[in-house]
Amino acid sequence: MKILVPVKRVIDYNVKVRVKPDNSGVDLANVKMALNPFCEIAVEEAVRLKEAGIASEIVAVSIGNKLVQEQLRTALALGADRAIQLDTELTLDSLQVAKLLAKVVEAEQPQLIIMGKQAIDSDNNQTAQMLAALTGMGQGTFASKVVVADGKVQVTREIDGGLQTVELSLPAVVSTDLRLNEPRYASLPNIMKAKKKPLDVSPADSFGVALDAKVKTLSVKAPETRKAGVTVANVAELVSKLKDEAKVI
């Protein structure tokens, strides 16, 4: 079984972003970038399915400029077999990403697509669902457990009220939640080996997908900051402040 893992290059989750003074976006100059944490979980899950003898090949794909090759190499070091970059300088909406991924799905014919539930930059949480819609596949979003057997996949999903398990026929799309697994670190020998694994590049505009965004960002502002609070000396003072000053209890 072939697994396709779409991965995104995003700001490292430890970095506190700063909004640009002209409110045109966030400042990404000289900021540490990384594999989106949910994509890391997706790669790990694919690698575990390969180690379990269920998957035979893992293909990582990323859409973006040359820099995304760094994250594709990370995916290769974690255990993906080959990588595809769809090259573009444009910032795409999830719909366009999903349309491009649908083209890759058409060409590669994977049985399973495992991807992040959410990119931690745009916080969109859309692409997996859109890809499933465009390919007519079933979707197991926010997965905390994935079991592949008998041509089907059972996905346990983290939902607002608890957990839900659905069964999907293959091919299917799965999006990862935090509890699915704990990703491994790439070992040095694997990082070296990853440099020799195949990485194909094709222009994103060669797939017949219109790449002009329909949603325009008018401004990006810093959130309102909370004014500094006070330290209370003890529980009694806390309770009286909550009662008399804040009037919330």
Binding site: D123, G136, T141, E167, V220, T231
Partner: protein, 312 residues
């Protein structure tokens, strides 16, 4: 122009999120002078439809009552909404796990973008949403013919009830047959739901284990509070996943949020920093949570929680 709201419900009753999503829809309809329809797709969901008809501002309720929609499988519900949705200018659902699961699928079927987690509506095509875990607030404008968006419940008040909008049934049945509901394990609790509670007390890694979460019970009882948690507490298995507050968990904005043994990572703050009053209890005076807390209490939670319980 007509606005369609996709109701969130469990067939028997509407979820509180629907009342807030309808509120967002009425802000749009007031501006546009248009109608607001609510779709209740489910199985044996007439009771939920009846409740939807009572919501202020709703001009019509559509009910698609079929076993295909009983478990809210995204594949089936999205196919239905996409078919109905062609005739609408805006399609709204709550930014809950149900809405987030289903609505992007609708947008893709309609060949339009989705705008996630709307926190304010500026005009018929311009919306405000947080990005980067709430560290930046974007104002975006959509040029799509149909605006498809999820709405953050914490940012909108519930609409009033007392209306009696007409109810029409929809006979479209979409059963894609690619997915099947197997089972559900819902956390049972007598407490208010996290996203609806006026008071929340959350525990983090500092609680050390699941049993110690019982230290929060007495306080939660007295304050009629919901109990939440950080990701670290969920990952460690202290409490179930549906208690996670944060960027990738639940977004809450209660009147009072008490963070106990939580350091205040940006991903946690993303889920609670719009609370009216924040209290932090932490033994580390340098913990970042104190930077957003209105009232900080530095000390050992194992001494302070019983004291707080007794003082209330």
């Amino acid at each position: 122009m007509t606005i369609l709201v996709i109701a969130e419900h469990n067939n028997a009753a509407l979820k509180a999120d629907t009342l807030k999503t309808v509120h967002a829809a009425t802000l749009l309809s007031n501006e546009l002078g248009c109608e607001v329809h609510v779709l209740v797709a489910g199985a044996a969901c007439q009771a939920a439809a009846g409740q939807a008809a009572e919501l202020a501002g709703v001009t019509k309720v559509l009910v698609a009552d079929n076993t295909a929609y009983g478990q809210q499988l995204a594949e089936n519900v999205a196919a239905l909404v996409a078919e109905l949705g062609k005739d609408y200018s805006h399609i709204l659902a709550a930014a809950t796990t149900t809405g987030k699961n289903m609505l992007p699928r609708v947008a893709a079927l309609l060949d339009v973008a989705q705008i996630s987690d709307v926190i304010a509506i500026q005009s018929a095509d311009t919306f405000v949403r947080p990005i980067y875990a709430g560290n930046a607030i974007a104002t975006v404008q959509s040029a799509d013919a149909i605006k498809v968006m999820t709405v953050r419940s914490a940012a909108f008040a519930a609409v009033a009830t007392g209306n009696s909008a007409p109810i029409a049934s929809v006979s479209i049945v979409k059963d894609l047959g690619v997915s099947r509901f197997i089972s559900e394990e819902l956390t049972k609790s007598e407490r208010p739901e996290l996203t609806a509670a006026k008071v929340i007390i959350s525990g983090g890694r500092g609680m050390q284990n699941g049993e110690n979460f019982a230290l929060l019970n007495g306080i939660a009882d007295k304050l009629n509070a919901a109990i939440g948690a950080s990701r670290a507490a969920v990952d460690a298995g202290f409490v179930p996943n549906d208690m996670q507050v944060g960027q990738t968990g639940k977004i809450v904005a209660p009147d009072l949020y008490i963070a106990v043994g939580i350091s205040g990572a940006i991903q946690h703050l993303a889920g609670m920093k719009d609370s009216k009053v924040i209290v932090a209890i932490n033994k580390d005076p340098e913990a970042p949570i104190f930077q957003v807390a209105d009232y900080g209490l530095v000390g050992d939670l194992f001494t302070l929680l019983p004291e707080l319980d007794a003082a209330l």
